[in-house]
């Protein structure tokens, strides 16, 4: 990877960092509000895997923030560059499609992790948290961020207008993240919805991530790793192929 890659990566990080109140502050606040509301309503009534509800909820919110912000970073950067036309600045230089992909995805992962860390920092006062198997935490945060970062690249390239991107977000990303066990254990769902959840890759990201905190989870972390790893591999191949063909970027 050359200096072109590191510059594009740096520029993508700088882009969100310059407006950190919107790109980091706002999502941390949102997650905090979710925590306050849900834990107020449900704490004391519910325990999951023998963990008090607020403690169970926190890793879910952290991971949801990682995922949503990773997606937001690459997708909004690309659509803005396309709509304003300044995408030419990265298309004219000798940056390979692989470098392009990695720069956007890694910057998305960084944004996801920064927001995730912010959410963790803002919420861990509210309940006792363990970090039983921290490697799982890191692995799932990185891979989940990379998957959503890739999806963001795809959405940002595919969408011609902001409302198309919003549709992608509202009809795919939001349902997938909300119906993934962020707020509950899927074991508490009726059997049909349990089945549906098991087809949702985001469920495995959250479940594996949560396993790192408590050492217990709905699915085995190895199964989650396999599912999440396969998704990442597939998406990477798919996105690289789009970029290689110049889909919607090089007419």
């Amino acid at each position: 990877m050359g200096h072109g890659f590191s510059t594009l990566f740096y520029k993508e990080v700088l882009r969100f960092w310059k407006v950190a109140s919107q790109t980091v502050g706002a999502p941390v606040l949102t997650a905090l509000l979710y925590l306050l509301i849900f834990s107020h309503v449900l704490a004391g009534h519910v325990q999951v895997h023998g963990v008090i509800y607020t403690a169970f909820l926190i890793p879910g919110l952290v991971m949801m923030s990682v995922l949503q912000n990773a997606f937001a970073n690459s997708s909004s950067s690309l659509i803005q560059s396309k709509v304003t036309g300044n995408i030419v600045f990265v298309l004219l230089p000798p940056i390979s499609y692989l470098e392009f992909y990695l720069a956007y995805v890694l910057a998305s992962v960084v944004r996801g992790l920064v927001v995730g860390a912010g959410v963790l920092l803002a919420t861990f006062w509210f309940a006792p948290l363990d970090f039983v198997e921290p490697w799982w935490i890191l692995v799932f945060a990185l891979m989940g961020g990379a998957i959503l970062g890739s999806l963001g690249v795809i959405a940002g390239i595919w969408a011609d207008k902001f409302d198309q991107l919003a549709a992608f977000q509202n009809f795919l990303i939001m349902p997938l993240t909300f119906l993934s066990g962020v707020f509950y254990s899927v074991h508490s769902l009726p059997p049909f919805w349990q089945q549906v959840s098991h087809w949702n890759p985001v469920f495995y990201m959250i479940d594996g991530f949560r396993h790192g905190f408590f050492g217990v989870s709905d699915a085995s972390p190895w199964l989650s790793l396999a599912v999440v790893g396969s998704c990442l591999a597939l998406l990477t191949v798919f996105t690289l192929n789009l970029l290689k063909r110049g889909y919607k970027l090089r007419a």
Binding site: H3, R15, P94, I95
Partner: protein
């Protein structure tokens, strides 16, 4: 030594629009080359194909011997493009934009050259201003600067002076001329034909995706435009001269090839007893060439 730009049999369609139709073009190193044509002729598409922003349906494009698809890294490093659209990244200052652009080309410590570009384009005082705060003319200058950060030997400017004030035009052309004198190959498109006439040593004219004229500026002027004697008379004109002349209001235009033909023409007019109220001598100009080429009178006469 390979040509600065070699375009071979390049075609490109957008749906049913044939934007480029088997274009052949070669620009030698060190040339100041003009690409002219009406709106929609395909100039921007040709430049985009050269820059790798658009993929040609067929044919090949080379920058200093490097194919823009197969060897895109080398080709793009050798090429600097000023896009037609006035684009900018609102997140950054002028200097940040230029440093980032340098980085994309793999260049780390470029401050000295960046300062020189800023100075030459009259941007020094704006170096730390956010791009959003700049006027259109200033943004245009930054766009030129961004195309130059990697010192490309081949520089392509797509209508760099559209909607730009006189001062910037002069600053810009003075700088581009210096770059040309220093050995950079320059290709420009413009709607100001006077600019092209003054700057370019060779010109290609595009119409509906085809090259309809290609020659040195001097040859084009000689072939498609002449000197002419323009006269305002009391109305009459000897029949012998009127046959070749064009009349427009009270003005007659009498074309001629050499200055020693002027005196005999005037003598004939005097002999016929016509009164001359006003007189001027028109030089061949590119505008006339352009109009005549675009009217299609000389189609196929590509040399």
């Amino acid at each position: 030594m390979s040509a600065a730009i070699r375009i071979t049999q390049v075609s490109k369609c957008f749906g049913s629009v044939r934007a480029l139709d088997q274009v052949d073009l070669e620009v030698q190193r060190g040339e100041f080359f003009g690409l002219l044509g009406p709106n929609g002729a395909g100039k921007t598409t040709l430049i985009s194909a050269l820059a790798g922003l658009v993929r040609a349906d067929s044919g090949s494009l080379n920058v200093m011997g490097h194919d823009v698809q197969l060897d895109y890294r080398a080709a793009r490093r050798l090429l600097g493009v000023v896009p037609q659209e006035l684009v900018f990244d609102p997140f950054f200052t002028v200097r940040e934009s230029l440093k980032i652009q340098s980085g994309y080309f793999g260049i780390r410590d470029n401050d000295e050259w960046i300062d020189e570009i800023l100075e030459n384009l009259g941007l020094t005082s704006k170096a730390n201003a956010n791009m959003r705060m700049l006027s259109g003319g200033m943004k245009r200058r930054v766009l030129v600067a961004q195309a130059l950060v990697h010192r490309p030997p081949v520089i392509v400017l797509d209508e760099p002076t559209a909607g730009v004030d006189v001062e910037l035009r002069q600053t810009l052309w003075a700088f581009i001329r210096r770059l040309n004198e220093a050995g950079h190959t320059i290709v420009l498109t413009t709607h100001y034909l006077e600019e092209a006439e003054n700057l370019c040593n060779r010109i290609a004219m595009l119409k509906a995706g085809r090259v309809v004229a290609l020659d040195t500026t001097a040859q084009l002027l000689r072939r498609f435009s002449t000197h002419c004697l323009r006269l305002r008379t009391d109305g009459a004109m000897p029949a012998e001269l009127a046959a070749d002349a064009a009349q427009n209001g009270g003005w007659w235009s009498l074309p001629f090839d050499a200055f020693d033909q002027v005196e005999p023409m005037l003598a004939k007019i005097r002999a016929a007893g016509c009164r001359i109220d006003d007189l001027e001598i028109g030089k061949p100009d590119l505008e006339e060439v352009f109009v005549r080429v675009m009217q299609g009178q000389h189609e196929g006469q590509v040399s």
